[in-house]
Structures are given as structure tokens and as C-alpha cells.
């Protein structure tokens, strides 16, 4: 194996490992505050916690949000069965599923690849 081909191969390993580390480890450092859109939809409301259940007081867009139809699914909210501290594992599962779904989709599209003559127009 030449140095060049090693470098080319190591790119895939580094990219893959970095992706798994971000999902599995770095994700624990994520801010849990609402993002830009959520904070916009919460404008006008106050989040109050009553007996561990969050409630919106006031008037805001977020009050119209419906519960997610899959809120009870095993990986909902990036946790395994809702257990604390399983976010990293959920993230790794998500990475694997995403690479399989996207890879499968792109492999299929590439099967229909235009031949050189037809591709010219694109």
C-alpha cells in the first residue's frame, strides 16, 4: 500500500469515526435550550413545570403544536425507551440508519446513471 492510497483510505476511516464520535459522545455537550425556531414559537409563553410536566402559560404559537404521532416510539427524543443517558447510543443508531438509508438511495439512483452522452446536458 503506497502512502497515497493509505491517505485516501484513511479519509473514510477518519470521517466515519468522527461522525460516530459526534453522535455518540459530543452530543452529550449539546445545549438543551430551544433552538431559534422553537424560541420564536414560544414567544409570549412561559414554560412552567407542574409535577414534572411542562406547561405553557400565556399565548404563543407553540401551544398549537400537536404531540408527535410517534412520541411513544422506542427512540423518541434521542433516548432508548426514554432512559436518561442513552442519547449517545440513540445517536449512533441514527448514524447507522442514516448511512444505510442514504447509501441505499444513492446507490439506487446511481444505477440509473445517465451515460456520458446524455449526461452532457446536465
Amino acid at each position: 500500500m503506497t502512502a497515497e492510497s493509505r491517505r485516501r483510505a484513511s479519509f473514510w476511516i477518519v470521517f466515519g469515526v468522527a461522525t460516530l464520535l459526534i453522535a455518540g459522545v459530543v452530543s452529550y455537550l449539546a445545549s438543551s435550550n430551544p433552538d431559534g425556531l422553537d424560541s420564536t414559537t414560544l414567544r409570549g409563553c412561559e414554560v412552567v413545570e407542574i409535577d414534572g410536566v411542562e406547561e405553557l402559560r400565556g399565548e404563543c404559537i407553540a401551544q398549537h403544536a400537536e404531540e408527535h404521532p410517534l412520541a411513544a416510539s422506542p427512540l423518541a427524543d434521542y433516548a432508548l425507551e426514554g432512559r436518561d443517558g442513552t442519547g449517545g447510543l440513540a445517536g449512533v443508531i441514527g448514524v447507522v440508519v442514516t448511512v444505510l438509508v442514504a447509501g441505499g438511495l444513492f446507490w439506487t439512483i446511481a444505477r440509473f446513471r445517465t451515460t456520458s452522452g446524455q449526461a452532457h446536458g446536465d
Partner: protein, 230 residues
């Protein structure tokens, strides 16, 4: 920037679902010329990378965070049509597996992040890069980083404006359009800076190790090769 179900009314959701389906079908059709044996694995990995990075919300203001959208990043690395499909796959996996982002809201979310974010981000990246190429023989890696930063920041703000348009058309709640516009723009200018930094660092890292894989860099060199008969 994933909206839940119920934030916009049913006709708006349906309208943007149709738009998203048509847009993604067009992307799949055009992605045929972007995807080959070398780019398929990269595109799959880019989608997974964006899924991972989207998990990491970063603080932008007290009590407010933001996360990467990834439109410009995907488009620069794997091309705009494949890039839009990458983001769409991420959004579908997030919604159906992780209950992150509504299901009837998939149309609006895909429109904002996969179609608008990619189109605006790639438009800026391709224009700036073409402009640079016209004036110099070689474009340095840090310069590509600046291009990526700008494209990502603009793409993020445009994706946020997509939500403003959807809210104007069929938003629930009594918050004024002016307030929504101001808060969406204000927060997404800041999120766009974070998006720009992550995009620039990632694109520069790939440019340094495997410039042959970067779609934006290949477009200008690809043309003569395409004319050669097989």
C-alpha cells in the same frame, strides 16, 4: 429548526408536502449525473455526518440554541441535488425514528432545510467560487473556507425565511408576522455564523485530505472530461 405538527394549518402543510415531493423527485432525477461509484459512499457518509452534527445544539443567546442545518455543507461536498436528498433523508429519519420534527410538517421542514437551504447555500457557493476562479488560477483552501462560511450563513437565513413564509400563509397562533420575522431572522443570523464555522471547518478538512472528492472543486475541472467520448 424542525417544526412540529400543528404550527401551520392543513392546507399549508399539504401544499408544502406536494412542493417537497416534486422538488425531491427532481433532485433524484438530476442527482443521477452527480452520483457514481466514488460519490455514493461519500454522499451516504455526508448524510450521516449531518445527522450527527445536528444533534449538537450550540448556544447562541441566553436560553436559545441552534444547530447545523447542513444544506450548504452537503451541496458543496456532493452536489446540490444529491445534497438536498441528504438533508431530506436526515429529516425523515429524525421525524420517523426520533420523533424530532412533525410528520405532517415533513413537507414544510424539507422545503426549508433541504430545498431552500441547499438552493440558497449552493447558489452562493457556486457564484463565489466561479467568480474567484475567473480572477486566479488557484483557489487556496482557506479561501474555499470563506466561500463555505458565506454560503452556509446565507443558506441558514434563507431556510429561516422559508418558515416565515409558511407562517404567513397558514400559521397557527396570534403572534404577529413582524415578531416572527424579527425573531427568526435575529436568531438565524447568529445560528448562521455557527453553521458557517462548522461548514467551513468541514469543507476545509476534506479539501486538505481529498480535494478530488469535493463537488464544488470538481465542477470547474470536470467540463473538459465530460466532452471526451466514452
Amino acid at each position: 429548526m424542525h417544526m412540529s405538527d400543528g404550527i401551520v394549518d392543513a392546507p399549508t402543510s399539504v401544499g408544502f408536502a406536494v412542493l417537497a415531493v416534486v422538488g425531491l423527485a427532481l433532485c433524484a432525477w438530476r442527482a443521477r449525473s452527480e452520483l457514481d461509484d466514488r460519490t455514493v459512499p461519500l454522499a451516504g457518509l455526508v448524510a450521516a455526518f449531518i445527522f450527527a452534527v445536528q444533534m449538537v445544539n450550540f448556544p447562541i443567546l441566553p436560553g436559545v440554541s441552534g444547530h447545523l442545518l447542513g444544506g450548504a455543507l452537503a451541496a458543496i461536498l456532493v452536489g446540490p441535488f444529491t445534497g438536498a436528498l441528504c438533508i431530506a433523508v436526515v429529516l425523515i429519519v429524525q421525524s420517523l425514528m426520533f420523533a424530532d420534527g412533525g410528520v405532517t410538517a415533513l413537507g414544510t421542514n424539507i422545503t426549508n432545510m433541504a430545498l431552500v437551504g441547499v438552493a440558497a447555500g449552493y447558489g452562493v457557493a457556486a457564484s463565489l467560487y466561479t467568480l474567484l476562479k475567473r480572477h486566479r488560477d488557484r483557489v487556496s483552501v482557506p479561501t474555499v473556507g470563506v466561500v463555505a462560511f458565506t454560503a452556509a450563513a446565507v443558506g441558514t437565513v434563507c431556510a429561516a425565511l422559508g418558515f416565515v413564509v409558511q407562517y404567513a400563509l397558514g400559521g397557527a397562533g396570534s403572534t404577529s408576522l413582524g415578531t416572527v420575522t424579527a425573531y427568526m431572522l435575529g436568531t438565524h443570523v447568529l445560528i448562521g455564523i455557527g453553521e458557517g464555522v462548522i461548514t467551513a471547518l468541514t469543507v476545509m478538512a476534506v479539501c486538505r485530505t481529498r480535494p478530488d472528492l469535493v463537488y464544488l472543486l470538481r465542477t470547474s475541472e470536470k467540463k473538459p472530461a465530460e466532452v471526451v467520448p466514452a
